[in-house]
């Protein structure tokens, strides 16, 4: 029983570490997509002339920013997948083992 309690303590520590990792990556990533997307809608609402500035041919800044937002979402999705698999999953797996009380090989 004592061992179980220790490993649960370890699990809490691991999850704390995991949360810190997640905060470190997810907070900036969330800020990036919210600022880019809500910023776009603010521009669309209040800066119509700026959005009409020509970029390539008849394509204006607004459409260019929309295209960039598509790209950004896809890039963020891939980056998140990579970070989660590389950094979050091992920590989560360790914590899961500690919770089930099997401990980890030291």
């Amino acid at each position: 029983m004592a061992r179980n309690r220790t490993s649960l303590k370890d699990a809490h520590a691991s999850v704390k570490e995991l949360i810190a990792e997640k905060v470190q990556y997810l907070v900036p990533m969330t800020i990036i997509f919210i600022v880019c997307y809500i910023g776009l809608t603010v521009f669309a609402g209040f800066a119509k002339d700026l959005m009409g500035m020509r970029i390539v041919g008849s394509v204006n800044l607004g459409f260019a920013l929309i295209a960039l937002n598509y790209l950004l979402s896809w890039v963020l999705a891939i980056v998140y997948g990579r970070i989660a698999a590389g950094k979050f999953d091992p920590l989560a797996a360790r914590a899961a083992m500690e919770i089930s009380g099997r401990g980890i090989l030291r």
């Binding site: 649960l8 699990a11 809490h12 999850v15 995991l18 949360i19 997640k22 997810l26 990533m29 969330t30 997509f33 919210i34 997307y37 809500i38 776009l40 809608t41 603010v42 521009f43 669309a44 609402g45 209040f46 119509k48 959005m51 009409g52 390539v56 041919g57 008849s58 394509v59 204006n60 607004g62 459409f63 929309i66 295209a67 937002n69 598509y70 979402s73 896809w74 963020l76 999705a77 891939i78 998140y80 997948g81 989660a84 698999a85 999953d89 989560a92 797996a93 914590a95 899961a96 919770i99 089930s100």
Partner: protein, 507 residues
């Protein structure tokens, strides 16, 4: 138009075949609500794409872009960005903490009956607000496309959805969504290739032609959403509302673990995102080649833009190719509605049978076999109710309900869900406060706005999310602070966190 009916009947037969196959594999509660959590990431990704692209997305975005230019493209981008929120904050915790419903997550965190009841209300209200316009839309669309009457169209769609859900549960619903997503993406790819060959693979031509035909104003924002705050409301509603839509979120229970849930979101972001981006090209092409006058003549709201464009690309009005393309796109549009209403019915039956009857009324004391039957009966009752509401809604302005559904999801369900997952102090008072304030402010503001009252609107925004979402959060925070601190709940939060991040509950 009979060609459409023919293609639609073929799709219907395929989906009924799937349902027969799925019904034989649906025995336990876990089968019924979550397809036994055995789907792969790709399967769930396709199903999510089928689930999330309603007729409003399939037909509406193209129409909006064709008639109003950039606002349509902004509309189409939102639902992709929305998945960033879901990917970063919601998908994995949902998979890790819940079993079949949104109510499971809230109940798991709070362990109180009141909070479960609040979650049930949030689910049922959002689902019905979403379901009713879908049924009404189905009626209009099927009538326009096949020529059968509105009432019979609603009944046909409603009965099909009841059959899928009541017999085949999540497995049938999932495969209906996968088939629909595959058809939708195929149609999109064919149309895109045809457009590209028409402009000699130079997409810039689409913009140049549109500018020449409709002046540069057409390519500016604000042609559809006149009030700047409506643009922002739209953005907020999408980014945070998706994460509060129970029928989409329950899809994460169909995969075995958080990793698969995550990968399925990446799948849907590429599948649905590519389609959304495509609608902008479709809309511009339709404005250029079909023409806004023809589009408006067919349907004021532009909902027939995509079928008309397909007909044009296939060879025009009286050609076999044109009618085949029209029939195909129209049939996919109906399949789209079927996939979405099935998911809504299934998710509502989860809230009624699993959350309300089993966990609230019976306090969990119901055996699995019994629960499956309750869920099936609930699905039939909800389906019949949806048919009745759909028929009653004929001629009523249901557009406000679509906005309302997403707005409530963002303003009531989202704050409660996100605070449940991440705020230690958050308690039952907060759940009730957030749900009540989010719900009431959304409904009241939508009702006194221009969507409902037209020129007599008491307040200017069609979509109130920009105000109701902060109010929902405020309600949740105030509710938490006003009610007494719940020491047990706060202590339990550490263990809940273990489950949120690992999927294993400390036993």
């Amino acid at each position: 138009m009979n060609l459409t009916l023919g293609i639609f009947v073929i799709i219907l037969l395929i989906t009924l075949g799937i349902t027969y196959w799925a019904a034989r594999r649906t025995r336990t509660t876990s089968d019924f609500y979550a397809a036994d959590s055995q789907l792969t990431a790709a399967q769930n990704g396709f199903a999510l794409a089928g689930d999330w692209c309603s007729a409003a997305a399939f037909l509406g975005f193209t129409g909006l872009t064709a008639l109003y230019g950039m606002d349509g493209a902004l509309y189409a981008l939102g639902p992709l960005v929305a998945f960033c929120t879901v990917l970063f904050m919601i998908a994995e915790p949902m998979r890790n903490t819940g079993k079949y419903t949104l109510g499971d997550v809230i109940r798991g965190r709070m362990q109180t009956r009141t909070s479960l009841l609040a979650a049930i209300v949030g689910t049922v209200v959002v689902n019905f607000a979403y379901l009713m316009p879908q049924m009404a839309g189905a009626g209009v669309l099927v009538r326009l496309l096949t020529g059968i009457s509105y009432d019979w169209a609603v009944i046909l769609v409603g009965v099909s959805m009841i059959v899928y859900v009541a017999f085949g549960g999540m497995l049938a619903t999932t495969w209906v969504q996968i088939v629909k997503a595959a058809l939708m993406l195929t149609a999109g790819a064919i149309i895109l290739m045809m457009i590209l060959s028409l402009v000699h693979f130079n997409p810039l031509t689409l913009f140049a032609d549109a500018e020449q035909k409709y002046t540069a104003k057409y390519l500016l924002p604000g042609n559809y959403l006149k009030n700047p705050f409506d643009q922002i409301s739209l953005g907020l509603g999408y980014t945070l509302g998706l994460a509060g839509l129970p029928h989409v979120m329950t899809r994460f229970y169909t995969v075995p673990d958080a990793k698969t849930a995550r990968r399925s979101v990446v799948w849907v972001m590429f599948l649905a995102g590519a389609f959304f981006a495509g609608t902008t090209a479709f809309g511009l092409a339709a404005a250029n080649y079909v023409g806004q006058d023809v589009i408006r003549a067919a349907d004021q709201g532009g909902n027939l833009t995509l079928p008309l464009l397909a007909q044009y690309l296939g060879g025009g009005k009286d050609s076999l190719g044109g009618n085949l393309m029209l029939g195909f796109v129209a049939a996919v549009a109906v399949a789209t509605i079927l996939a979405v209403v099935s998911a809504l019915t299934l998710s509502t039956s989860g809230a009624i049978a699993h959350d309300f009857y089993v966990n609230w009324v019976k306090r969990g004391h119901v055996d699995g076999k019994h629960e499956v039957w309750i869920a099936r009966i609930a699905a039939v009752v909800i389906g019949v109710l949806a048919i009745a509401l759909g028929i009653l809604a004929q001629g009523v302005n249901v557009a406000v309900l679509v906005i309302l559904a997403i707005c409530i999801a963002a303003s009531a369900n989202f704050p409660v869900l996100i605070l449940s997952l991440f705020w230690r102090r958050f308690n039952t008072g907060g759940v009730v406060g957030g749900m009540t304030v989010g719900l009431i402010s959304s409904v009241v503001l939508a009702m006194i706005g221009p969507a409902m009252r037209g020129a007599d609107a008491l307040w200017p925004l069609v979509n109130p999310t920009v105000v109701s979402l902060p109010l929902g959060f405020l309600g949740a925070v105030l509710g938490t602070l006003i009610s007494r601190r719940d020491a047990d709940n706060e202590k339990r939060f550490d263990e809940f966190l273990l489950q949120v991040h690992t999927g294993v509950a400390p036993g």
